[in-house]
């Protein structure tokens, strides 16, 4: 449900962000002017002795030379490619940070583990055996809900960069007060709620849902139905089906049932190989000729885009897709630079979980640099309410639920002959408008 009554206004939000930025600038300026100058004498002996007096800025140093970051992603099974996408973002950020002198002089190193091989065991080993200082990643919502509660015991910060269930931040952070958890990627508000704003303006009245049968698929469909019903009272949800995931390779009976129910549009949160398979089979079975629109929130994930390429089907009123970041949005220098560096390093456009994991590493860097220590409470305090200028735009870490607020657009698949299809008819909305807000009724 979208809570409107307790929602603070956009003005308050912008005010908060603006005051945060101003405070940051003022604080930094103050810190700079108040820094204790250190004077030391350096004697250089050549043919004669001169005395040079230099001013050297006092540098905070960390108690260790290397900051270890544990990275969790799916690295085996049908979704294995997602572990690679997380890894690529993490590696790029690590290389950049280390090349620029590390974090307060300490180098960053990564320890990468497969969350599909028992996420709880992996997280425990990362902290207890590998002695990592932070954890980032996690692809699956189910895994995020399993590993989340463990973090208060392990007492390390976990920044989720993909798993999308709203329960991670709403329940684990906001209600259960597990302060060690953060998320820099958009939750299912993107997949369910913003998707309904896209559907609102389409000439489609009968929607069918074909969604993966687990947390992510079910909550997204629920949000989509609830939001769209509020936005328009002439829509019907004629068919709702849930497919096994991973492991559904034949969607023909699902599609046949959706057509049988008279669907004019199909909403599906199937992703990765199931997303690709659905598109291909909808095309082969002529479904694309019989329905008006398709909404696939994770349809602009780079694995799907590269796999379908020029064969990415388009429906009469559009195949509407999004991600947790799309590479061309927003059109800022920092984003262009990121995309360029990413393409140089990995020879591909960045996937969303690459960007979110990249940003998570910079978030850790920013927190350590502002506190000058690895003290957990201080780091959590620094991250709460932090404003990050990232490739995906300005992210604000909401203090109550540790969820990053930033906007990610939807768009219509279009083929312009480039390396991958692009998006047109971009639909954006301020995260403040479509996110759910505390106290999450």
């Amino acid at each position: 449900m979208v809570q409107t009554s307790s929602k603070p206004s956009r003005r308050t939000f912008l005010g908060t962000v603006a005051s945060g930025v101003v405070a940051f600038v003022v604080g930094a300026g103050l810190g700079w002017s108040l820094r204790s100058p250190e004077t030391r004498e350096v004697t250089i002996t050549r043919d004669r002795t001169v005395t040079v007096t230099q001013q050297v800025t006092a540098v905070k140093t960390l108690p260790k030379d290397t900051i270890k970051i544990g990275v969790l992603g799916i690295r085996s099974g049908p979704w294995a490619t997602y572990g690679t996408l997380i890894e690529q973002g993490a590696v790029l950020a690590m290389e950049e940070i280390n090349a620029a002198g590390g974090i307060l002089g300490s180098k960053v190193s990564l320890v990468i583990r497969d969350e599909a091989a028992d996420v709880v065991k992996q997280a425990r080993e990362l902290v207890e055996a590998e002695k990592v200082d932070f954890l980032v990643g996690v692809d699956s919502s189910g895994n995020a809900m399993r590993v989340g509660p463990l973090m208060s015991e392990l007492n390390k910060i976990l920044i989720v960069t993909h798993a999308a269930t709203h329960r991670f931040t709403e329940e684990l952070v906001y209600k259960q007060k597990i302060k060690q958890l953060f998320r820099v990627s958009v939750p299912v508000y993107q997949d369910g709620i913003l998707a309904a704003y896209v559907a609102k303006d389409l000439p489609i009245k009968k929607w069918a849902g074909i969604n993966p049968d687990y947390e992510y698929g079910r909550v997204s469909w629920q949000f989509f139905k609830e939001t769209l019903s509020k936005l328009r009272n002439d829509v019907e949800f004629v068919s709702e089906q849930f497919n096994r995931s991973p492991g559904t390779t034949d969607f023909s009976p699902f599609l046949s049932a959706a057509l049988g129910a008279g669907a004019e549009g199909i909403f599906t949160t199937n992703w990765a190989l199931e997303g690709v398979t659905m598109h291909r089979q909808m095309k082969s079975l002529g479904v694309y000729d019989q329905i008006g629109a398709v909404i696939m929130p994770m349809g602009y994930s780079m694995d799907v885009v590269y796999e379908l390429g020029h064969e990415y089907p388009t429906a009469k009123y559009g195949t509407w897709v999004s991600g947790r970041y799309v590479w061309f949005y927003p059109n800022t220098t920092i984003n262009q630079q990121f995309v360029e560096n990413f393409r140089k390093r990995w020879n591909r456009y960045p996937a969303y979980s690459s960007e979110t994991t990249y940003t998570a590493l910079y978030m850790i860097k920013a927190a350590i640099e502002s506190t000058g220590s690895l003290d957990l409470d201080a780091l959590i305090k620094a991250m709460e309410g932090m404003t990050l200028i990232s490739p995906a735009g300005v992210r604000w870490i909401r203090p109550e639920d540790h969820q990053a607020l930033y906007d990610v657009p939807y768009g219509k698949i279009a083929h312009t002959g480039g390396e991958i299809p692009i998006l047109t008819d971009i639909v954006t909305k301020s995260a403040w408008e479509y996110y759910r807000h505390p106290p999450f009724g």
């Binding site: 085996s76 294995a80 690679t84 709702e240 991973p246 009976p253 599609l255 046949s256 690709v276 082969s284």
Partner: protein, 286 residues
């Protein structure tokens, strides 16, 4: 209403045929060698990968199906000769473990060779020809798969029931010691059956890759359904496995239309019911 039902039964039959292409080899191998071949669906997916690669290289889908069938047949034969053969005399648990190990090796090898991302292809143009039935179009591929499944069933049935070799297989199936006493080379029967089963997996996987994706570890999801179908039929029962493929495929499809919430559960409920009432399977012998 009737049309709706017809469409749903047709997609159900397609799904049944897909199931049967996996279950046929699995039940054949179990029936004769008593080995629960956990790697069977991994062979199926491997067939898909090989076909996809050959298709990209040559542009000839039928050539790729032939190549994948033979390649997977060879892999299967090697696995039987080298890994499974020494374990025939010990408990079946060890055979399950060794075939599970093969699954892990195939999964990781395919990740190494073809990458972690899933792969898929467009239906070849000649198989994508639309066939119109009651207002909806189906690719010709749909009917080719259904027909192929029937053909595989008839062929296996004829070979086992109407040939002398089939008689030897059935004797081995019934009683290995007696078959050996009759100077039947049971070792060779085992190898041949395992090879035929693997050929079937390669063939099925290669055909289906035109419609379904391949990904590392995808076989792990497919094998569960295939096992359930074989268990419902009665392990090792060929006719039963075909009937139970049709039963499960069509039932799943119809439930999607009328009771979608119950659909994923369905196959497990049927299995539980069969195991309670007839633990030896619907068509199995006590």
């Amino acid at each position: 209403m009737l049309e709706l039902l017809g469409h749903q039964i047709l997609t159900g039959l397609f799904r049944s045929s897909y199931y049967w292409l996996i279950a046929s080899g699995l039940t054949l191998i179990f029936g004769v060698t008593r080995v629960i071949n956990f790697a069977h669906a991994a062979f199926f997916v491997l067939g898909g990968y090989i076909a996809l690669t050959v298709d990209i290289l040559t542009g000839n889908f039928w050539l790729s199906v032939a190549a994948a069938t033979l390649a997977v047949g060879m892999v299967g034969t090697s696995v039987e000769r080298v890994l499974v053969k020494p374990l025939y005399k010990v408990e079946s648990l060890y055979q399950l473990l060794i075939t599970f190990a093969v699954t892990l090796i195939i999964n990781d090898a395919s990740k190494l060779i073809w990458g972690a991302a899933s792969r898929s292809m467009k239906i070849p143009a000649e198989l994508a020809l639309p066939v119109w039935i009651a207002g909806r179009s189906y690719p010709l591929f749909f009917f080719i798969i259904i027909a192929t499944a029937v053909a595989v069933f008839i062929l296996l049935y004829m070979v086992l029931e109407k040939t002398f070799w089939g008689l030897k297989v059935k004797s081995t199936w019934r009683d290995v010691t007696m078959a050996q006493a009759l100077r039947i080379n049971t070792g060779r029967i085992y190898t041949t059956t395992f090879s035929i089963g693997s050929l079937l997996a390669g063939f099925g996987g290669a055909l289906m890759v035109a419609f379904t994706p391949v990904a590392p570890g995808l076989g792990d999801s497919l094998i569960i359904t295939a096992f359930i179908i074989v268990v419902i039929a009665g392990l090792g029962n060929l006719i039963g496995a075909y009937v139970s493929s049709i039963l499960i495929g069509v039932a799943e499809s119809l439930f999607l239309l009328y009771l979608p919430e119950f659909d994923i559960l369905l196959i497990f409920v049927i299995m539980a019911a069969v195991l309670l009432v007839r633990p030896w399977g619907l068509f199995g012998e006590r």
